[in-house]
Each structure stands twice: as C-alpha cells, then as structure tokens.
C-alpha cells in the first residue's frame, strides 16, 4: 500500500468556510478536516477543521484536556484519527507513523524530549535516517543550519552534558535537518528562563520569515501575544474559532478558551503578623551520584506569608522541599520548626512519620502528582486516605472518615468527577491537583509547601489553586510556593527566593522586583555573574 494516497477531488471546492480568510493568498500547508479522535469514552477531538499556513506562526490555545496535543500528535504520526482527513500541501495523506510525518516534512518537538543521553548532538540528529552514515558531512550541515538561524550548538557535545534549553535546540535542529517545513512545538517554554525564551522566539520568527509553517502549543497568554500571527482556540476537543493576534487581547482569548468570562487577577493581601515558622540554615544536599544539589542554603519561612521560590527547573527546588519534608537525606545544616509558643523542633534527619508524630503540621504538594502525591490507580477516597489511614487502633482502616473527607473536598474545591470510586488517573489534571491540594490543606497545616502546583493546569483550575493557597496564607499558614511562571510568582508571592545551581542567589521582595531582574538572578550562581 502506498503511504501517501492521492485524491482527485479538489478539497478547496469542498471546504467550508471555517474562519477568517483575509490572508488566503498565503499557501496552506496543512488542512485537517473533520478530525475526530476518541480514547475509550473520552472524546479528545471532535470534528475539528484546522488550517496551518506557510510563513505563519499559529498558536494553539486551549485548556488542559481540550485536545491540543492529541490533535498535533495526529499530524506527527503518534495517533491516527478515528475519522476525518488530512491534507498536506493540497494532497490527502495518511500519517501512520512519525516516519510518515517526517517524510511529509512535519516535525514535532514534544514536551518531553526524545533524545538519547549518551549520544552527541549530531548522532541524535541523524539517528534513524536512511542513507550512508557520514558524521562529518552531517556535522557540517548542522553547523550551517545553526549559523543560519542563530542557534548556539556544539554538534559534538553529548546530550547528558546539555542544559534543558540546549536539548530543546537539538530537537529543533533535528527537525530542520530533516527539512521539516511544518514545525510543531508543544509547550516549548515550560522549562526555559525568560532570556532563553526570547532567544527561542527570535529563532521561530526567523523560521517563519523563511516560509515555514509553525504551530506552537502554549498556556501562556503573553507568549501568544508576542509571538503568534494567528490563534486557533480549542475547547473540549472542538475548534471554537480563529483570532488574529493583532486584533485581540488576553481577556478575549481566555473567554473564548474557557467559554465564559474569567477574571485574571490574583489578590495579594499584606501578611498579617508574620512570625518565623521554619528556619533553614546552611543545608547541603549531595545526590546519590555525588552531585551537589543544594549548597549552603539558608532562609526563613514566616507564618501568614507566601515565600515564592524561583529558579530554572532542576536547580534544587525539589531537593529543598523534600529535605524539609523529611524525604531527602541532607549532609549538613539545620531545619528548625518554630511552634506558636516559640519552642523549636529540629526537623533535619526526621522521617515524615516522625515529623507528624512530633505534632508538626507540615503539608507538601509535590511536583510529581501521580507518582508521589497520589496513586493513579486508586480512587479518590483511597487517595485521601493516604494521610489518614493510620487513624484508630484497629487493624481495619477507617474508610468512612476518608470517604466523608473526600466528599467534603470534592464539594469545597468543585472537583469534577463521576463519583468517589473513580480511579484518580482518569480525572483531568486540574481535578487531580484539586484532590491533592484539598487533602494537604485538610489537616489545617502550619506549613504548606507546593511544587509547581499549577503546572499543566488550565486557567480555571490554576486560579482555584491560587485561591486555596491565598486562603491558607490568610489563615496564618506559612506557604512555600515553587513556581515556574514568573508572572504568577510576581503577583502571588510576598517574598521570592531565587535559586541557581543549588545556591541562593537572592531573596527579594515580591512586590517591588521586576521580571528581568528575577531572570538575571536565576542565572547567577550565588549572586556571581555566570559565563552564560
């Protein structure tokens, strides 16, 4: 069977008018028609018609679970649509595998990079290609691509030596090397600093001016505004419509995405009577592979206040929170919990159970929701029970208590679920996080630590989480908020601790600092300017 099936009917005649066509002199690169895809009973995409044009950056906007990634995965050959047709450059095609996609000039940079650590940049780029293996020639070609678009890549560097942004660059160069004309990027800025993001956007603009078609999936409104030419909005798997970026604004896009109007403000009250709650001094953490993850980190968390933690991903946030929670062995230092009466408890070296037994009410919303905070295959009740199954002396667990608490959390936080017996992995990301946050605050904690509490969440869910965090702050809880969206950090946190390569590079006032200074601090080790 031929991979690409030709179709004689001109689809231009058959196409329905699906939005704006003022710029239709631009050549259409991809036309998706009536695409439907279901997973079990979940409809990921329903009758979607999408048009991608050459020489244009198209933003795909939508809440979580609205089907953006699924739609693009069908273009890149990961999934096959249940219904509908795809045309590339006017010809009907059937994309059965990533290889078919690559032969059609479609390349996708996934959220999770698909690189092999022990190979060099060049080796990763030419991996899986046909023809004679000629590393030298390939290297030369890669250099040429890099010069053309202003990439900073050493073709002979091993992937394990690279930073996240370098890895992403390799993924993009890989697509260009394969002569991709249509480039799809799935949340490319999630792991980048503001400076790296700017650099990436410059490159993408260059590529657009080169006549390539670019699709970017993102949640961040300001990125949509600064980068894209056109926006396609998806909601619940359906294409709601197109907007021209120049003619719209964040509020309009959000309303279209959510289907009702949403207020985009986070209230930040002045902390009431802040007292020192947790005093961290001089902690050092060395990982099992001997890498120094935290170096001499000291700071204080105060009651009734949100301490934001900023930093490029992987520069010690996870280790820091886990050290306080008793999950990460530390080499030296001290973590003191201060009770209301001024007495202190040393938490360092204690296990989570010991911390609870000491009466220290410490809650922790970890980064890895379904791998650490919750168990995906268990239902809501059993997940709530993770914190309370020890209740009572009987060898039988007290499910009734957990079931009641689960019911309360579902009601209070408006968790959307068919019932309490649904396995939690079948809830959407936002609802999963509501269950986790709900459980962690149900013990009325003195200290609440959250790591990337809104990562991957849609706008509505994110604001619901911010509200809960603010509520805890007002109740006098000491909140530690590790976040990646600097705009949110600047709106939410009272003080911001900036980490860089496991060291504190600054503790700043969240009300007065600006984003650029914060971005600079994120790349300065211990306040010293780094070479990068």
């Amino acid at each position: 069977m031929k991979k690409i099936e030709r179709n004689n009917i001109s689809y231009y005649e058959q196409r329905k008018n699906i939005g704006i066509n003022e710029m239709s002199n631009q050549q259409i690169a991809v036309q998706m028609e009536n695409i439907t895809k279901t997973f079990g009973s979940v409809i990921a995409n329903k009758n979607v018609d999408l048009e991608i044009r050459n020489g244009e950056i198209l933003s795909l906007l939508g809440e979580n679970g609205s089907g953006k990634t699924t739609l693009m995965n069908m273009l890149s050959g990961i999934y096959a649509p249940d219904e509908g047709r795809i045309f590339v450059n006017g010809e009907e095609v059937r994309i059965k595998s990533p290889r078919d996609a690559y032969e059609l000039g479609i390349g996708m940079v996934h959220q999770h990079y698909k690189l092999i650590d022990v190979l060099t940049a060049t080796e990763n780029i030419i991996l899986g290609l046909d023809g004679k293996l000629n590393i030298k020639e390939a290297t030369a070609q890669i250099k040429e691509i890099c010069d053309r678009y202003g990439f900073d890549v050493d073709p002979n560097q091993k992937v394990y030596d690279m930073s996240v942004s370098q890895k992403q660059t390799i993924e993009i160069v890989k697509m260009l090397y394969r002569k991709a004309q249509i480039l799809i990027l799935d949340e490319p800025t999630a792991v980048l600093t503001p400076q790296e993001t700017d650099k990436l956007f410059d490159v993408l603009r260059n590529m657009r001016n080169d006549g390539k078609a670019i699709v970017i999936i993102t949640h961040k409104m300001h990125e949509v505004e600064s980068l894209s030419d056109r926006v396609a909005v998806l909601r619940s798997g359906e294409l709601i419509g197109y907007l021209v970026t120049k003619e719209t604004n964040a509020t309009e896009m959000t309303n279209m995405m959510v289907g009702k109007s949403v207020s985009l403000n986070i209230t930040r009250r002045e902390p009431v009577d802040p007292k020192d709650r947790v005093i961290v001094s001089g902690i050092n953490v060395v990982s099992e592979d001997g890498i120094q993850k935290l170096k001499d980190v000291s700071f204080t968390v105060r009651s009734g206040e949100i301490l934001g933690i900023a930093g490029i991903s992987g520069c010690g946030q996870k280790e820091l929170l886990e050290a306080i929670a008793g999950l990460q062995p530390t080499q030296s230092g001290s973590i003191k919990f201060v009770n209301d009466d001024g007495s202190e408890e040393e938490l360092l070296g204690m296990s989570p159970t010991q911390i609870t037994e000491k009466g220290v009410k410490l809650s922790f919303v970890p980064e890895d929701r379904l791998g650490m905070g919750l168990v995906g295959n268990m239902d809501i009740t059993d997940n709530i029970m993770l914190r309370s199954f020890r209740r009572g002396k009987a060898p039988i667990a007290d499910r009734k208590f957990s079931r009641n608490l689960a019911g309360e959390i579902v009601d209070d936080l408006q968790v959307v679920t068919p019932n309490l017996q649904t396995p939690i992995r079948r809830l959407s990301g936002g609802n999963v996080q509501k269950v986790l946050v709900g459980r962690e605050i149900s013990t009325s904690p003195k200290v609440l630590m959250t790591a990337y509490a809104v990562r991957g969440l849609d706008i509505n869910s994110s604001y619901a989480i911010y509200d809960q965090i603010n509520l805890q702050k007002e109740k006098g809880c000491a909140v530690v908020y590790v976040g990646e969206d600097l705009d949110v950090l600047l709106e939410l946190a009272d003080r911001i601790l900036v980490l860089c390569a496991g060291q504190v590079s600054g503790i700043v006032d969240g009300r007065t600092i600006d984003k650029n200074t914060l971005g600079m601090l994120m790349t300065k080790v211990g306040g010293e300017k780094s070479n990068e």
Binding site: V42, K68, L327, P352, G371, R387, R426, S428, N431
Partner: protein
Amino acid sequence: MNKFRIHIAKRDTMPVAAAWAIRIGAIVLALLLGSLLTLVLTGKNPLSVLLTIVQGAFGTERKIWTTLRDTSVLLMFGLAVAPAFKMRFWNIGAEGQVLMSGLGTAVVMFFLGGKINDGLLIILMLVAAIVCGMLWAFIPAVIKAKWNTNETLSTLMLNYIAAQIVSMFIAWAVPSGSMKMGIINQDTNAGWLPALFGNKHILIIIMALLITAFVFVYIKYGKGGYELTVVGESVKTARYVGIKVEWVIIRTMLISGAICGIIGFLQVAGVEHTISPNTAGGLGFTAVLVAWMAKLNPIVMIFTSMLIVVMSNGAGDVASSLGLNASFSDILTGIILFFLIGCEFFINYKICFSAKNDKISSDVTDSKESESSGGVEENEGGKQS
C-alpha cells in the same frame, strides 16, 4: 470499494457485567474449539469427553471430596502469593516455602512422635511449619528490602535449595539409601491430623475458607493491605506518606510464608504423612496462574483454582474410560486458559474497524451535540501507557 482499517484503542473502563460476559463467552468459545479439536483428532463425541471430565472430577462422592480438597490446597497456594503480587513482589517461591514447612512438620513428627502428648506434638508441628515457611519467605524479602535484589530470581532459586535440603534430610534420616522417607509414625499415627466429622478432607477445606476470608479482609479492608497496595502502586508515594516500605515488604512476605507454613503442615500431617522433594507438587507455580486469573481477588480465586483442578482431575478418566491419552485433557485445559487469559485483551482494548469512505461527510457537523466531557478527561498524552 471500501478499504477497512483496523486499529486498537485502549478502553476506558468496561462495565463489570460486560467484562464477565466476555469471559464467559471466551470459555464457550474455548469449549467449542476444544470440541472441534476432539472431533477432528479423536473422532469421539466432544460432549462425552467433557462429560467424562466432569464425571472424573465429580462422578463419585470420593471424587467430589478429592476435587474439593485439591481445590482447597491450590487455593491456599494462590492465597499465599496473592498479597505479595498485590505489592508487585513477584513471589514464585511458594513451592520452596511449602516444602520447608513440610520439612519442619516432618522433622518434629519424626523425632518427637510418641515421645510427647499428641496434642502438643501437633501444635509443635504447626509452629515448626509456620516458622520454616516464614523463614523461607523472610530471606528474599529482606534482601529485596535492603539491597533491592530481584525477588523473582531469589524466590525461584530458594525453591531448589529447599528441595535439596529435603533430599539431604531424607538421605540422613533413612540410612537404607532408598531416598524414600516412607510413612512417618505408621504404627502409632502420632502427629497425624484427626479426621473431622469422620472425613479427613474437611479440615483442609475449612482452613482454605478461613484463609480466603482472612486474605480478602486483609487486602481489602486492613491497614496492612492498604499499605502493601500503596507500596505496589508507587514506592515514592509510600515513602512520601511515611509508610516504611522495607517493613511492609517483609511483613507481607511473612504472611505469605505463614500461609505456606499452614499448607505444608496440612499436606504432611494431614494427607501424605511423609516428606519428599515433590511434596509441593509444582502447585506453587500453578498458584501464580490461579491468582492472576482471579485478578488477585481471593473470592474469585476459589473458582479459578477449581477450574484448574477439575480439568486435571478429569484427565485421568478421559484416559481410562475413553482410551485417550491423559495429555488430551491438558490440551483442553490449555485451550481454556489461553482463551481466558487472551480475552483480557478484549476487556482492556477495543478494536476499531473503520471503513474508509471516499466522500467527505459534511453533514456530520450538523448533528454536533455539545458533549459534556466535563472533567473526567484523562491528561493529554497520558493514554499511551
């Protein structure tokens, strides 16, 4: 011309009733295929072969009791491994654990038989059996908990060590060199379990039901069962909520070992009154099948163990009364198991056939309903797993 496309998609969940309908359908299909095979290979009436199997398992009162007893023993083996499996600890060492507890029982019976009060003797035998079973389960558990060794290998290898220890004991205890233990205390019957209600099988059946109830409650309602489920699902989560993972692994395996201890005790003191390297009879491996076919549900395990026992007990009659080789029943068992396990695929996945039509259906959009997909969507991209 329509061209058909086939692709496989994961199902969300299937109603329990539908899932069981598929399983029953699979058994019916298996029986049909088995019948066809019977007809083609032997020329016998397939129905009579099946009837013979049922006759062989339930034909006489004695056969019914034997089938019930064998089911109970196999069931207990399954119950012994189920908690560990639920914890994702691949314990295939029930064989060795039962053998060691059988040895413990035999040793006490052999040396103390007739020297002490019979009641005390039986209690000592039980204690020895349970201690030996737990010890043999403790070894792989502790090296897994401490050094994260592969439990499949360690439990498997301990089976062979157990068999060799039993051989060593026999060689030492039976100086004649026949390598056969013979019936222990044949004259005095010291340490032999009494027949309850005049039936020597009833004790085993009662024990099996008690253990079923215990394992069911422990896993489904107990704190320990909850802990081991969390450990099985995610060690990281378990540590995060302060569950002592090492201790849960050891405790769960000690329970497995104790159940194996009871099996070994019942086999040696109640049935065989002797010990040999074959005392466990390979049931430790069949138990894996019993447990998994029942999805680790102790109640369902009653039926899966009975299915396997009926098929194998019926095999003898197929051989003798129909003049077929006993392996023929194995073939039928194999077909049934293949269908039963294979049908799980259809429960977890659906196969979509879609005709490729050459028309563009533009009217589909008109019937669009605003489907309320609400919040029960899975995370994007998380469906591949």
